[in-house]
């Protein structure tokens, strides 16, 4: 089951939009990080079940943060939520091990669907 969700995005409004979409679906423990480095640090400290990751961020971008998180935990489920929907960007993050990519702005229904898929994946992984 998904209990803890990490949101990594430099935009406070993007974090708020995503948070509102998530809690419309169900209550979770939500942790927020303001850039990729903060995301890696909070991932290490909290080991969330699910991570939503932006790509274009200061300090450390989402590609690097995704790579570092996968190095820490190869089974981590990282959903990239980005405005950068160029085919090469999408291919790069999938190659780095993202669970899936969602185009910004994500509708609450898409968030709900993706959390359901993540829960199924976690169930299969954890047994």
């Amino acid at each position: 089951m998904v209990k803890v969700i990490l949101i990594v995005d430099d935009s406070p409004i993007a974090r708020k939009m995503l948070k509102n979409s998530i809690i419309k679906y169900k209550e979770f423990d939500i942790i927020e990080a303001v850039n990729g480095q903060d995301g890696v640090d909070k991932y290490t400290a909290n080991k969330p079940d699910l991570t939503f990751m932006d790509l274009t961020m200061p300090v450390m971008n989402g590609y690097e943060a995704l790579q570092k998180i996968k190095e820490i935990d190869k089974d981590s489920l990282v959903i990239v939520l980005t405005a950068d929907i160029q085919p090469k960007s999408l291919a790069s993050v999938m190659a780095l091990g993202a669970f899936t990519v969602i185009k910004k702005p994500a509708k609450p229904e898409s968030i709900q669907t993706i959390i359901e898929k993540a829960e199924l994946k976690l169930k299969a992984m954890r047994g």
Binding site: I13, T56, A83, P87, K88, P105
Partner: protein
């Protein structure tokens, strides 16, 4: 004196605008990637409020030499109105010509014409996709004038600077981009005037309410 962004937009409104620009620039580069085999590296968008009177200075600061810069402008009209401005350093001329056609000419006149056509097309795609996405997200639509290129000479540069009326406020939304492996970088600015501000604030609130 530079107006304070916080005097015009609340912190939330500024954040919403920045996120909308982030989405719009991402949309614009994806549109470009569909028609040209190119990957665009984007920066985090920056939003500033500037008195129109200070805009010439801002443009001069951001476009240091008119002789080495190609500037493309496209105006848009509607509830949200203003100008999209795309700035490329002119030293990347051959690289720009090479984007669409590897067999570009070495002849100066032909190269210049090819580069102009390509810049107009790239500008049309980037500005149109970016402004179009902002308009879509904010629930309105705009019409466009054809893009035009201001190149090479200080006269064109000065005409651009002098085309803005004084005593107005410009919201400058800027992102720096780089065409990977093409040695081309530049920036895209969306300028809108103070007549659009009331509408923009209202539209930003409406946008956010759909996520409350």
């Amino acid at each position: 004196m530079e107006p304070n962004l916080n005097d015009i937009f609340s912190s939330d409104e500024k954040d919403i605008l920045q996120e909308i620009m982030n989405i719009a620039f991402g949309n614009a580069t994806a549109d470009l990637a569909q028609v040209i085999d190119i990957y665009v590296v984007l920066s985090v968008p920056n939003i500033k409020v500037i008195d129109i009177g200070d805009l010439p200075h801002y443009i001069k600061q951001n476009i240091p030499s008119s002789e080495n810069t190609s500037i493309l402008q496209q105006k848009f009209w509607g509830e949200f109105r203003g100008s999209g401005i795309l700035v490329f350093p002119q030293t990347s001329g051959k690289d720009i010509a090479g984007i669409l056609d590897d067999q570009f000419s070495d002849d100066g006149f032909t190269l210049h014409r090819q580069k102009t056509e390509i810049l107009l097309e790239i500008g049309n795609i980037l500005i149109g996709a970016c402004v179009g996405k902002v308009s879509e997200l904010l629930g309105t639509f705009v019409t466009y004038s054809p893009p035009h290129l201001i190149v090479d000479d200080s006269e064109g540069h000065n005409n651009l600077i002098n085309s803005f009326e004084e005593n107005q406020t410009a919201i400058v939304m800027k992102t720096i981009f780089e065409f990977e492996n093409k040695n081309i970088n530049g920036f895209l600015m969306i300028l809108t005037d103070n007549e659009s501000i009331d509408w923009l604030r209202h539209a930003l609130q409406n946008f956010m309410e759909s996520y409350e």
